[in-house]
């Protein structure tokens, strides 16, 4: 497990990270969400040792992250980066060797990976001669070529067509399945909501919420229900243990202290007749996000 503990970072006189702490669990996909400028990229750079924190530590299973462990993280920066005029297989071999693989193994892995990502017949083309989608695949290969023990990806899905999103996703899931912790940032909340096991929401350099989707929902919503009847639903206001959030004719949204209170509202509604709908309300993460980063 990778643990960030109390990370601060200051650029000049501006403090961009305040006491950032969260965990990235092995075998799980952790989404890192925040508005532009919230501190995602800085946090990731510190995690990779590209930047030094002003305070705080990055740990692995309780001990400070070693340089050896760091060298085994696969990283994909937000601004994609590979050499435009160098054949992609050579670039992958170069990166793998800088990560400690010997030249022969590096080449074998590079070719395997390109094959797997559908670039087998383009393996000796220069990056700039590839289409954008294929460049993106080469970029993913660059993060995976040294057989990473963990993955950190900055906005891996931005600018991708739906096909490429699926390909990328499949690869990331495969890595997570081997027990590697995977962290990726995104500002596309719907994507994150669909893909992530865990979620870290950052706003203005502070962690606003962290945990599983369910944890975050539970922490940021009191349970709500929605009832639709044919008649006027104003009577719900007088029900015991219930508070109305929104009322419009036959439709009402209310919170209840417990399930029993909600059930009582339903039985009353059935007695009055004309129930069209009754269901718990799930708040979309987007709504929670808007609320916590404010």
């Amino acid at each position: 497990m990778i643990q960030l503990r109390g990370i601060d970072r200051t650029f000049g006189t501006t403090q961009v990270l305040h006491d950032v702490s969260f965990d990235i669990h092995p075998g799980r996909m952790t989404g890192f969400v925040g508005a532009n400028g919230a501190g995602k990229t800085t946090t990731m750079r510190i995690l990779l040792g590209v930047l030094e924190p002003s305070a705080g530590t990055v740990e692995v299973d309780g001990a400070p992250m070693s340089a050896d462990y760091r060298a085994r993280i696969g990283y994909m920066p937000e601004e994609r980066g590979l050499y435009p005029k160098m054949p992609i297989d050579d670039q992958l071999v170069y990166l793998a060797r800088l990560h400690g693989l010997d030249a022969k193994l590096a080449r074998r892995r590079a070719l395997d990976l390109l094959e797997r990502l559908g670039l087998g017949d383009r393996h000796h083309d220069t990056l700039e001669s590839l289409s954008l989608g294929n460049q993106q695949r080469a970029q993913i290969a660059a993060a995976l070529v040294h057989d990473p023990a963990a993955l950190v990806l900055d906005e891996p899905f931005s600018g991708l067509d739906p096909m490429a999103v699926e390909v990328t996703l499949e690869v990331l899931r495969d890595v997570a399945r081997t027990g590697a912790p995977v962290l990726f940032s995104s500002h596309q909340l719907d994507v994150v909501e669909r893909l992530c096991d865990e979620l870290v929401i950052i706003g203005d350099g502070r962690v606003r919420a962290a945990g599983t989707r369910e944890d975050i929902r539970a922490a940021h919503t009191s349970p709500e229900w929605r009832l639709v009847t044919t008649g006027d639903a104003g009577w719900v206001r007088d029900a015991v243990g219930v508070e109305v959030v929104d009322l419009a004719g036959g439709e009402v949204r209310f919170t209840a202290t417990d399930e029993a209170a909600a059930d009582r509202v339903l039985s009353q509604a059935v007695e009055r007749g004309g129930v069209r709908a009754f269901s718990p309300v799930t708040r979309p993460l987007t709504e929670i996000f808007q609320e916590v980063v404010r």
Binding site: R45, V50, Y75, R80, G81, L82, L95, G100
Partner: protein, 371 residues
């Protein structure tokens, strides 16, 4: 798309050791250059240029030597036939000689004259100076230092050292700058920094490019020396061996100095379009020794000063060695100065490089980079 795991059991055991990373980076720098047609072609052109210069300096003077054809009559034949570089045509009388000059079949004619010299020289449009000089009575001349360097040759040699120094520094300096800014512009530098320290990157770039520059300079030196020996060029064979050795030695160290400055300057900008803003001062440093050596190629005091300035020492020391105006230990002192300056500049450049590498946007100010 297969569902097989992308991670086999090939985990690299640990982080790459510093010098191994340096080696891998240097290897890439060299390969990229050797695969570039532009690099190979320009290297070949420079070598051919050096070869052409050697051949020209050996064979060239003969091309400009010409014999003067002179028409004479019997009375003047003896006076002219003993002169060097003249070809004598004996004619019957003065009129025939004049006709030959007018028809441009000979360059001049020498006839008996009424003046105090007793000789009349006939030319077509202008007086044939060489012939007149040869026929005149010259005072005796005593040369105190007959082997003193010919200013023309001094100029050519200083031009040669200056040009090679400037061109190699510029082309490889810009090579390094381009490679640094390319990594910054494409952001691959972030991936690289996640696996190796910035200092290893910088060292690899400098070492890779310095090796290439050294090989190119050594090749040029070899072409000049071997070419000189083959064409039996006395200027090269007698006097240039030691100066060239000094040049290669000092250039190799001095190039590391230039290369680290170029790398640091390039790290301060984010786009190759902005390179000019930070590399211009360094260009000046590269060009100054070139002009200085051409102006001061025979001024011993200026040369002495230049040989103790790290930027100009690589051209000034060989020049002094050629003039024989330098003790061997003075060369070593210059070498020591260049070495010390290089160590200092590399440390400074390393700091600037490391701190500017991840900054994007406007060019980084030097003060910010060093803070």
């Amino acid at each position: 798309m297969s569902t097989a795991s992308p991670t086999g059991h090939v985990h690299a055991a640990s982080r790459v050791p510093f010098w191994r990373a340096v080696g891998i980076v240097a290897q890439r720098e060299i390969m990229v250059n050797l695969r570039s047609k532009a690099y190979l072609i320009s290297a070949a052109i420079v070598l051919l240029g050096a070869l052409a210069a050697v051949i020209f300096s050996s064979v060239g003077p003969q091309l400009f030597q010409s014999t003067t054809t002179v028409a004479v009559v019997a009375q003047t034949e003896q006076a002219v036939s003993s002169l060097p570089d003249t070809e004598v045509t004996v004619v019957d009388d003065a009129d025939e000689a004049r006709d030959l000059v007018a028809a441009e079949e000979v360059d001049a004619a020498v006839l008996p004259g009424d003046g105090p010299s007793g000789i009349l020289v006939i030319g077509e449009r202008e007086a044939p100076e060489g012939l007149i000089g040869a026929l005149s009575l010259s005072p005796e001349v005593e040369l105190l230092d007959p082997s003193a360097p010919n200013p023309g040759i001094l100029y050519l040699i200083s031009l040669g050292f200056g040009l090679v120094f400037m061109m190699a520094s510029m082309s490889f300096g810009y090579g390094i700058a381009g490679s640094v800014v390319e990594e910054k512009q494409t952001r691959i530098v972030e991936i690289l920094l996640a696996s190796v320290p910035a200092k290893a990157l910088l060292a690899g770039k400098i070492i890779g490019n310095s090796l290439l520059a050294f090989v190119q300079i050594a090749l040029i030196a070899a072409v000049v020396l071997i070419g000189g020996a083959v064409t039996d060029n006395s200027v090269i064979v007698d006097g240039l061996g030691t100066p060239i050795a000094w040049f290669v030695l000092l250039f190799t160290v001095g190039f590391v100095l230039m290369a680290s400055l170029f790398a640091a300057a390039a790290a301060m900008v984010s786009r190759s379009e902005d390179l000019g803003s930070t590399t211009t001062p360094i260009m000046m440093l590269v060009m100054l020794p070139y002009f200085a050596i051409i102006f001061f190629n025979s001024n011993p005091v200026a040369l002495q000063i230049m040989s103790y300035v790290p930027f100009s020492a690589p051209v000034a020391v060989p020049m002094r060695a050629y003039l024989g105006a330098m003790e061997w230990w003075e060369g070593l002192l210059s070498f020591g100065i260049v070495l010390a300056a290089t160590a200092l500049v590399v440390t400074f450049a390393g700091r600037v490089y490391e701190r500017s590498l991840l900054r994007t946007g406007k060019p980084v100010k030097l003060r910010e980079a060093l803070r």
